[in-house]
């Protein structure tokens, strides 16, 4: 089922080019030729010049970019009428199945999304993602057997999930009460001296790249759990990296997502500043004022392999970090297996304890 195609054509044979995670280059699906971005850019010199004339902001900012006319011409948008996901792909990609809810009737929509500033290219190919997910199912004794056999792992889809990456400088003003205790003996007396202190810490903590997914369709806890991503592999966005994958367009703006990032940065600021207080016992925070004094956000696509599967009328979503291979997803629990394991463990242990008690007690038969 060819649901994703590329708008790059092979300079050798004219076949479609896909981004190959292993070589981090574009690879022809027909003749297996590989090309660097520079080589493809040279081939499409005219397009490159056009793209260069539009320019790309590579600095952190709080705004998203606009697609160049040329880029936009090759992009298409799709809506999932079931879950409302808004997907984008290049113009020859036929997105037929929603990666979030497996709905097979996605429909074309108007392409109005913003262009990301950065993209973190897929580092894991589909084969590896399938292998990892298969491994993930192992060692879970309460997972229904039918679930493993019926969830079509091979239908896993590579999706660039939209993220806001927040930078921020948090200002902290914290006051603690603390004690230092000294104990010594004089004659028949034990003397305890307790010195009481007011501990003041003021300072800043600087954060970079705190992620918050910008898709309302992607559950926040999934994308929090799938962290971390190695940002050293971030690239300036180029449509080349979309080849062979689909992307979810953002529908949660930078302001709406900022509260999530602020909450996390505030918690970590309290921890970081508190860790500078040493040598006291009975440390009690008296006052804590944490304020963000600077901040910016960048819009980026981060790679995720998604598998949405239905079982017993419920939708189960699994996400594989397209860079590290970390897998997140809640799996169903077979209640019969759960009761069976509980009985096995409880009765087995009860029998062992009973036998031990019998022989420790000297027996009575």
């Amino acid at each position: 089922m060819a649901d994703q195609l590329s708008n790059y054509k092979c300079p050798n044979c004219g076949g479609p080019l896909r981004f190959d995670p292993e070589s981090q280059q574009l690879k022809c699906s027909y003749c297996d030729s590989t090309f660097t971005q520079a080589e493809v850019d040279a081939f499409y010199k005219a397009d490159e010049q056009l793209a260069a004339s539009q320019g790309t902001d590579t600095q952190w900012g709080t705004d998203t970019g606009d697609w160049s006319q040329e880029e936009a011409a090759h992009m298409r948008a799709y809506n999932c009428p079931s879950c409302g996901a808004q997907l984008i792909a290049d113009d020859t990609t036929a997105v037929t199945v929603c990666p979030y809810c497996s709905n097979p009737t996605v429909v074309a929509a108007q392409f109005v999304t913003k262009k990301p500033q950065f993209v973190l290219p897929f580092q894991l190919d589909k084969e590896k993602a399938v292998e990892l997910l298969t491994e993930f199912y192992k060692g879970k004794p309460l997972l229904p057997r039918q679930f493993k056999s019926h969830n079509h792992i091979e239908e896993i889809k590579g999706v660039y999930v939209p993220f806001w990456l927040y930078n921020g400088v948090m200002d902290a003003d914290m006051v603690f009460k603390g004690e230092r205790v000294m104990q010594f003996t004089q004659g028949d007396e034990v003397i305890t001296e307790t010195s009481h202190y007011q501990i003041i810490r003021r300072g800043t903590v600087t954060f970079s790249g705190v992620p918050a997914d910008a898709s309302s369709k992607m559950p926040d806890e999934y994308m929090d759990a799938i962290e971390p991503y190695d940002y050293s592999l971030l690239k300036d966005f180029d449509t080349m990296y979309l080849a062979g994958y689909m992307a979810d367009s953002y529908d949660v703006d930078e302001e709406a997502d900022r509260a999530r990032a602020d909450r996390r940065m505030t918690a970590s600021t309290v921890t970081a500043i508190s860790s500078t207080v040493n040598g006291f016992t009975g440390l009690v925070p008296e006052r804590s004022t944490i304020t963000r004094i600077d901040g910016a956000a960048a819009y980026a696509f981060l790679p995720v392999w998604l598998l949405s599967t239905r079982w017993n009328g419920n939708n189960y979503l699994f996400a594989v970090n397209g860079e590290t291979g970390k897998i997140v997803g809640d799996m169903p629990t077979d209640k019969q297996l759960l009761i069976s394991w509980w009985l096995k463990i409880t009765l087995g242990l009860f029998a062992v304890i009973a036998i031990v008690l019998y022989f420790m007690g000297g027996g009575f038969l």
């Binding site: 929090d224 000297g362 009575f364």
Partner: protein, 286 residues
């Protein structure tokens, strides 16, 4: 299918426990001569009882012959001791009990003698061995009555020859394991079944915790609360770092030192070997 199999296992376990729980035969009667097997006639028992009672009261030392059907769950080594303790034998009460016992397990054709309390002064291991030798002569010939009578009579002679006088002794270290000697099979059964509910609760708890851990393996998503990993290198800067001393409090605790000497000697009381028993070199089969 799986549930049916588990139900079968559960039924088997419960059935087994019910079998264990059936009341065991108990022997409440305590006399000087006791026969739960019916080997001795009532008349023989009465005669022996009269003889043993007369000697026991005169010597102030219980002299007993017990014939049991089996060893009552005791090892051969502990059989006679166990019978002595379980039937609360001895002249005098509690630690003051003094007596000597010939215990015969009919089914195992095993017997042994044991002495407890002050009687151990007289009935040393060598004396008990002599008593065992005497009993063996009769038992080997199937003369159970003769064995009992000879044992009681010889005990009387030994007590007199040993200048036995009753007193309440002090024991230093009663180390006989209570679960081996000091509880009867019925008591141990009762203890066992008394502990089973706790075993059941512990097992159920462990089972619940185990399946909870297994179920948790199926869940691995959670909202991240912190952003520690996104603090840049050297990203924490303090503009004010001040520890202001406010005051000092002082508490004084007086230490009571114990300067007294150790306890004095407890002269007058007699110390025994740890268990209060004296035993023969070992019982015999006949």
């Amino acid at each position: 299918m799986r549930i049916k199999r588990l139900a079968a296992v559960l039924s088997a376990v419960i059935g087994l426990l019910l079998i264990f729980a059936l009341p065991a035969k108990t022997n409440a009667a305590v006399t000087y001569v006791y026969d739960e097997t019916g080997i001795l006639t009532s008349q023989q028992i009465d005669e022996l009882n009269q003889l043993a009672e007369e000697i026991s009261l005169r010597q102030e030392c219980g002299v007993y012959v017990f014939i049991t059907s089996d060893q009552h769950g005791y090892s051969e080594r502990n059989y006679a001791k166990g019978i002595f303790m379980n039937y609360d034998l001895g002249y005098g009460e509690g630690e003051g009990a003094s007596g000597v016992l010939l215990a015969i397990a009919a089914e195992e054709s095993y017997f042994d003698s044991v002495a407890y309390g002050v009687a151990s002064d007289v009935f040393t291991t060598s004396k008990l061995d002599q008593l065992n030798d005497l009993a063996f002569e009769y038992l080997a010939g199937g003369d159970w009555y003769g064995a009992a009578e000879a044992f009681i009579t010889r005990c009387d002679e030994m007590l007199t020859a040993g200048n036995y006088h009753y007193y309440v002794p002090t024991y230093t270290d009663p180390t006989i394991a209570p679960n081996v000697v000091q509880y009867s099979p019925a008591e141990r059964r009762s203890q066992f079944f008394g502990r089973l509910p706790f075993a059941g609760i512990i097992s159920a708890l462990v089972g619940t915790i185990s399946v909870s851990v297994m179920a948790r393996k199926n869940k691995n998503i959670k909202i991240e609360q912190t952003a520690d990993r996104y603090i840049i290198k050297n990203g924490v800067h303090l503009s004010r770092n001040q520890d202001i001393f406010i005051n000092k409090t002082r508490t004084v605790t007086r230490v009571h030192r114990d300067t007294g000497g150790g306890g004095g000697s407890s002269g007058g009381s007699h110390s025994y070997h740890s268990s209060g028993f004296s035993s023969s070199s070992g019982g015999r089969h006949f």
